[in-house]
Symmetry: C2
Subunit: 345 residues, 2 copies
DNA sequence: CTTAGCACTCGGAGGAACGGAGTGCTAAAG
DNA sequence: CTTTAGCACTCCGTTCCTCCGAGTGCTAAG
């Protein structure tokens, strides 16, 4: 059933006042705003309560929105405003100041967002399981050590000094390099392991050690790229919010954000900004918080996701606007090809 | 003036009870423990107060140690016990579980320590300003991009894909590599910049770009190694401590630990474990907290430092013992040469 | 359907009373 | 000179009570 226009207006007003004050909203205040009597508002209140959009903390208190109320607000009532010039300015500056390359962007996104919206935030580096090694290089150091260099499909280059138990002939490294590129380039982690066995039979032990160390390093590199990485920041910001005056609640949420960050929601949908309200979060620890997430794309298939965690009484309009602007800016900044020296080692 | 034996006993008992309970200690309790009357204890209390070792939160309350009292306790009274078998076991396991290489050790030290002592902790990676590049390598990719590889004096290898505005002849890379090794290896960051100017005049622009990009990358690498890096963890643990029941205090300390971590003390002394009590900390935000720090050495001149932050009512005996054991274990684990694959890229 | 009026509920603020832990002081005992 | 028993006093934290006001639900009139 569709709510009457006035009910929507009332719900919207209740949500917005409650977001601002964190205190139940009474009928008198709204009566003044809407130009009707408080009794009328009370009647509407009663019906909105029955419908599950509002609730009373106790008899003779004002009304506060339920999660369902917030949901309707976010879906239909909220003004989807763009960020103001001031806000845009502030976000741009935050971005400019700290972003030198794409890898740093992903690492810092959480921190930046947290400072932009003033709630705890998290950032997720999406794992890329399809990544393979595009190129191997070997550089001799001495007869028992060499440098392994791998370049992955996303043009990241990593390298490591490797030491072997047996001495090897440095002149053979070039041959091994070709062997590596022929047999292991473009292969998944699992294929590499499989091939290693068959290659092993054809090589002298000392040389096989070189190959296996290199492949091991490559596998590590791919594992790291495949890993989903979650970082949280700004958890202490909740201490300023009245809903976390209770230390136990504050502590519970903070430890969750730090210790269980892998369980923070990573929704799959394609909406630019998504909102999860209270009990919509599967995790019990988030049952009375809301989460707003946005995903961004900074080229090279480096997709990331940033989220904001706060009380259900979150300023959804501001947070969604700023988060959308942030994600958009980030995508724009790095979307078009790699700036010159931008990539991680 | 030296305190009488009994005064020391009393001070020690007060400190230990206060550490355990966070509540002022009364004369009756100590009377029972020492086998004297409470009046005697009160007389001693009064004198210890005058001498500045104890204080009363208010008349008709028990006594609590002053920072000076804690100082005497730490210097002379505290039993410098070693960790118990259980504790050692726990610490060893914590270390074993999460440490694969030396670089990871430095990064994780704070987190590990925090979980070991159950206070907020921080770890400092000491910057190595004397580091230089030991070896350069260039690997061609296409006519406008190449891979720069640098190995630093501490045997860390880093690499990056670089792109140039002008196309260059890949066959010349080998010559450039020798030029780089001849002119820039073993040089400080400043020397490298200076040499870059003189080298520039002798090279075609496209080739100079390759050299300058590589040197720039090398400089970045050295900068990063020179940077002192501070990480804090476990800040939320203070929320369980009675002295931080006051949200404002808790918030103040937490934001300090997160936002001003560079200002955390990094004492220079050579004692294995150092204790800074309350006002001994220069920073105002730490004026009523205590800090315990230990430094470790994991070879290759990679020195690090771990610290614990907590209320002045910190369990110094346990914390110093565990921290000392932790630092020692870490040094032992990585002290003797690099384990096989251990280093960062 | 809206509004005015009214009795009712409930939480929070403010304040008095109380109990108890702990003190300082004094005077006597060792 | 030190230790102890005794005692009056201080002060904090708790409990209990009252009171106030904001806000409600209901009813009856416009």
């Amino acid at each position: 059933m569709e709510l009457s226009e006035r009910k929507k207006q009332i719900l919207k007003a209740v949500v917005e006042h409650y977001i601002e004050s964190a205190e139940p909203v009474g009928s008198k205040l709204l009566a003044r705003e809407l130009g009707v009597s408080s009794a009328t508002v009370r009647n509407e209140f009663a019906e909105l309560c029955e419908l599950g959009y509002l609730e009373q903390p106790h008899t003779s208190a004002g009304r506060a929105p339920t999660p369902q109320g917030y949901r309707l607000y976010v879906n239909e009532l909220m003004e989807r405003r763009a960020v103001s010039a001031d806000e845009a300015e502030h976000i741009d500056e935050t971005l400019r100041g700290r972003l030198t390359d794409a890898a740093g962007a992903v690492a810092n996104a959480g921190q930046l967002v947290s400072s932009i919206v003033n709630y705890p935030a998290y950032s997720v580096k999406r794992g890329n399981r399809a990544l393979t090694v595009e190129r191997f290089e070997l550089l001799g150091v001495d007869e028992r050590s060499f440098i392994a260099v791998v370049m992955t499909g996303d043009k990241n280059v990593r390298s490591q000094l490797c030491q072997t138990a047996l001495p090897f002939d440095a002149a053979r490294l070039d041959g091994l390099k070709h062997l590596l590129n022929a047999h292991f380039a473009g292969k998944s982690r699992e294929e590499m392991s499989a091939r290693l066995l068959s290659v092993g039979k054809q090589l002298a032990p000392a040389l096989f050690l070189v190959v296996s160390k290199t492949v091991e390093f490559a596998a590590q590199t791919l594992d790291e790229a495949a890993r989903r990485d979650v970082e949280t920041t700004g958890a202490s910001r909740i201490l300023t919010m009245p809903e976390y005056r209770d230390m136990d609640r504050a502590h519970e949420l903070m430890t969750f954000l730090v210790d269980n960050k892998e369980q923070l929601p990573v929704p799959e949908g394609d909406a630019p900004v998504q909102v999860l309200i209270g009990p919509e979060n599967v995790d019990a620890a988030l049952r009375d918080t809301s989460v707003v997430v946005a995903s961004y794309d900074i080229g090279d298939g480096m997709r990331g996701l940033v989220g904001v965690v706060g009380p259900t009484r979150m300023d959804y309009a501001t947070v969604t606007a700023r988060l959308a602007y942030f994600a958009e800016s980030l995508s724009k900044l790095f979307g078009k090809g790699l700036p010159d020296g931008a990539k991680q080692d």
